[in-house]
């Protein structure tokens, strides 16, 4: 490994619809490479950009097979895996409701009022089609995937420690543990707790900034794929896992089914923390695998 200065550098750019913050023991070139990886994900998976793979799928995949980038293919495969394992609680075709509730811009194509993740057909390598005219949005899992790739890029450049934070989807690497504060569910500018992480990703989902009133009830962009009802309680869910894409997908499932997600969390060797609206942690799940002794929770 080439020698490098031990100075911590930290940069932040607007990407993926949020602010992406990268800190590492490295040189500016390393951080530029990590941002370049995130920009690639942004270009491929943005719902807003009409040239992205996601937009091309939403426009054309019902009419014909669409060839997508291997990265997009991998995120789609992961999404389908989570849909299968959660019996449809996790479902990227909830984009339909997100458009209806104005969380996403109106798509130019028409789409049916039904259909779900089972209508996404993964054909041969990197080719997909839709069996019904559904629309998809990768949402947080694209962010998680981008964080994972940024960490890869930093490691590949020889960086030994750092942290990549894309609006609450973050991953740390290196010998030293990082402390991450979690927002208070009902007062997002306050903190409810802190988590210490080493070689670990964490994703936090909360309704706080995004809850809206629609007619007489509140809606949020977090919804259960089976019922298409949004989770409206002011809670915050944090999930820690080895990969950020996994952590992000699991937060959505824990949000919808709470304790019932335990088996799935165990399968992915993940830990979870649920914080209620009063700021008190109400449920915590610890991975049965190797992290038990290191958890301290008062």
């Amino acid at each position: 490994m080439r020698s490098r200065s031990n100075i911590e550098i930290r940069r932040c750019r607007p990407l993926l619809g949020t602010l992406v913050d990268i800190a590492c023991q490295g040189v500016p070139d390393d951080i530029d490479r990590a941002f370049a990886a995130i920009e690639n994900v942004h270009r491929l998976m943005s719902f807003h950009d009409r040239q992205s793979d996601v937009s091309r799928m939403n426009r054309d995949a019902f009419h014909r097979s669409v060839r997508i980038h291997p990265w997009t293919w991998r995120v789609l495969k992961t999404a389908q895996e989570f849909s299968r394992r959660s019996n449809g609680v996790f479902d990227i075709t909830v984009a339909r409701e997100l458009v209806k509730w104005n969380y996403l811009p109106k798509a130019h194509n028409r789409f049916s009022a039904c259909g779900n993740w089972r209508d996404i057909i993964l054909e041969d390598d990197c080719t997909i089609r839709f069996r019904r005219p559904v629309i998809v949005d990768f949402g947080g899992i694209a962010k998680g995937f981008a964080v994972d790739h940024a960490v890869e890029a930093l490691k590949h450049a020889g960086v030994t420690a750092g942290i990549v934070n894309a609006g609450g989807d973050l991953r740390t690497f290196g010998r030293v543990a990082h402390v991450v504060h979690v927002r208070h569910p009902s007062e997002p500018t306050r903190v409810a707790g802190a988590v210490r992480l080493r070689e670990r990703a964490i994703a936090t989902s909360g309704v706080y900034f995004e809850r809206r009133k629609r007619r007489t009830r509140y809606v949020s962009p977090l919804l259960d794929g089976r019922t298409r009802q949004s989770v409206r309680e002011l809670i915050s869910v944090s999930v820690a896992a080895a990969e950020c894409i996994v952590a992000d997908a699991l937060t959505k499932i824990v949000f919808a089914v709470r304790e019932k997600a335990a088996a799935l969390l165990a399968h992915y060797h993940a830990d979870a923390l649920l914080v209620e609206r009063d700021g008190a942690p109400s449920w915590m799940f610890r991975s049965p695998c190797d992290t038990r002794d290191q958890t301290r929770f008062d």
């Binding site: 602010l19 500018t189 988590v195 070689e199 915050s236 820690a240 830990d271 915590m284």
Partner: protein
């Protein structure tokens, strides 16, 4: 790979006190070097006329809150602009590098401050951040380095950049 997860209980004071999460990423000088490495900069601040302000607002659909815009001319016709945006919970200073054809080269966040909405709109509170190259003497929670669940939108920056592109067309491009 060894993983570790520890939930840390915070003292009551930390929970009751507002979390003034703040990060200073780059000074003006550092942001210049980050966006245009090895280039020379000539300060060329712009003071907008009322007509220009109106034209920018009409072209971008974004309100112009200040008459004065810190601008630097870079080497061969490129531009470096420092700007601020205020959100509901956040106050952000950022730099935009424009290529000589007016396209965006790079955006870097210079300063990010987050606190209560009421406080952030208070001019006195905001004045504390004027002159960002010097360290702020405001007491901030230095323990908070990373914050989770911060799905803050970057909409204000997107709007800010839209406004700056109109600013370029109306006040810089000649």
């Amino acid at each position: 790979m060894k993983s570790e997860l520890v939930f840390v209980a915070l003292p009551i004071s930390a929970i009751v006190a507002p979390s003034a999460f703040a990060v200073q990423y780059l000074s003006v000088d550092q942001a210049q070097r980050a966006i245009f490495p090895g280039k020379s900069f000539t300060a060329a601040p712009v003071k907008l006329t009322a007509a220009q302000r109106k034209a920018i607002e009409q072209a971008s659909g974004v309100r112009v809150l200040k008459d004065e815009q810190p601008v630097w001319r870079v080497g061969t016709g490129a531009w470096f602009i420092v700007d601020e945006v205020v959100g509901k919970h956040e106050f952000i200073t950022y730099a935009v590098g424009l290529n000589s054809d007016g396209s965006v080269k790079q955006i870097e966040i210079m300063d990010y401050r987050e606190t209560y909405g009421g406080q952030i709109r208070d001019q006195k509170w905001r004045d504390q951040f004027v002159g960002r190259t010097s360290k702020s003497n405001l007491k901030l929670d230095s323990d908070i380095k990373n914050i989770g669940g911060a799905t803050l939108s970057c909409r204000h920056i997107t709007d800010g950049v839209k406004r700056l592109l109109a600013f370029y067309e109306i006040a810089l491009k000649h």
